[in-house]
């Protein structure tokens, strides 16, 4: 059974509603959509990092997304194809934005259409775990008073173990 796969890296925002419409099809009873957004984050002010004074917190303004043009697209297509081989899917859509994204902006969309919900949920989660670990994208957090590269999380790396298959 063929799976329709649509992967895009873009600066522009995307419409979740429009992507949903491209995913829906008559032989699919389940559509799962994941939208990742730039979330309000706070941290102690860099000049007084031991303070718990609420006036001394630095607030995230934006995330800056860098990528490796060419490899990023190829890498996203590869994980989409892996998901399509592993689960019974009819449509996969992955859109990842790059550039400077202020708080509240959409970063990433993963959408899956499948005959049954378990395949759709599993594929969507697997693709998010792979996006976090295997695709050349990097986030820089711009706070009001400073900026720093986001560190990779052990929890994201550990999440990959769920998808390991016996050889």
């Amino acid at each position: 059974m063929m799976t329709w796969i649509n992967c895009r890296i873009q600066v522009e925002d995307f419409s979740l509603a429009a992507e949903y419409q491209t995913l829906v099809r008559q032989d699919c009873g389940a559509v799962v959509l994941f939208s990742g957004l730039v979330r309000d984050q706070f941290r102690p002010d860099s000049v007084s990092s031991n303070s718990i004074d609420p006036n001394n917190i630095d607030q995230l303004q934006a995330l800056e997304l860098e990528h490796y043009p060419g490899m990023t697209e190829r890498s996203i297509s590869t994980i989409a194809e892996q998901a399509a081989r592993r689960f019974d899917l009819r449509a996969v859509s992955i859109i990842h934005r790059v550039g400077v994204l202020p708080v509240g902006e959409q970063i990433v969309l993963v959408g899956i259409a499948a005959p049954h919900r378990r395949d759709a949920f599993a594929a969507c989660e697997m693709l998010m775990d792979y996006l976090k670990n295997e695709v050349p994208l990097w986030k820089k957090a711009h706070f009001r008073q400073s900026a720093e590269w986001v560190e990779a999380k052990a929890a994201d790396k550990n999440a990959l173990q769920r998808w390991e298959q016996p050889k």
Binding site: M71, S75, H96, I107, K132, E134, L137, E151
Partner: protein
């Protein structure tokens, strides 16, 4: 005609900032390991050496993830970068 095969090395994210360059070109006369290549770059300047030493590094050869022991052929495109944080 003898063609000189230039090996391009790309840097991304915090590594790019620490190197203060996005890429550099090397002329390899024979295949080397990724580890050898890193030593060649580190040997070019103290800043390069510090930037490469102070973080975990991932490597891609021709847009495919590789490791320290992978072979780099003259003409390959190498990318060096910190662990990814997209999604």
């Amino acid at each position: 005609m003898v063609q000189t095969l230039v090996t391009q090395v790309l840097f991304f994210a915090s590594l790019r900032e620490a190197m203060k360059i996005g890429s550099l070109k090397l002329t390899l006369t024979k295949p080397v390991t990724v580890q050898n290549l890193l030593m060649m770059i580190a040997g070019q300047s103290d800043r390069f050496a510090a930037a490469l030493a102070e973080r975990e590094l991932l490597v891609a050869i021709n847009e495919q993830l590789a490791d320290q022991h992978s072979m780099v052929q003259p003409g390959d495109t190498i990318a060096l970068f910190p662990p990814v944080t997209g999604g």
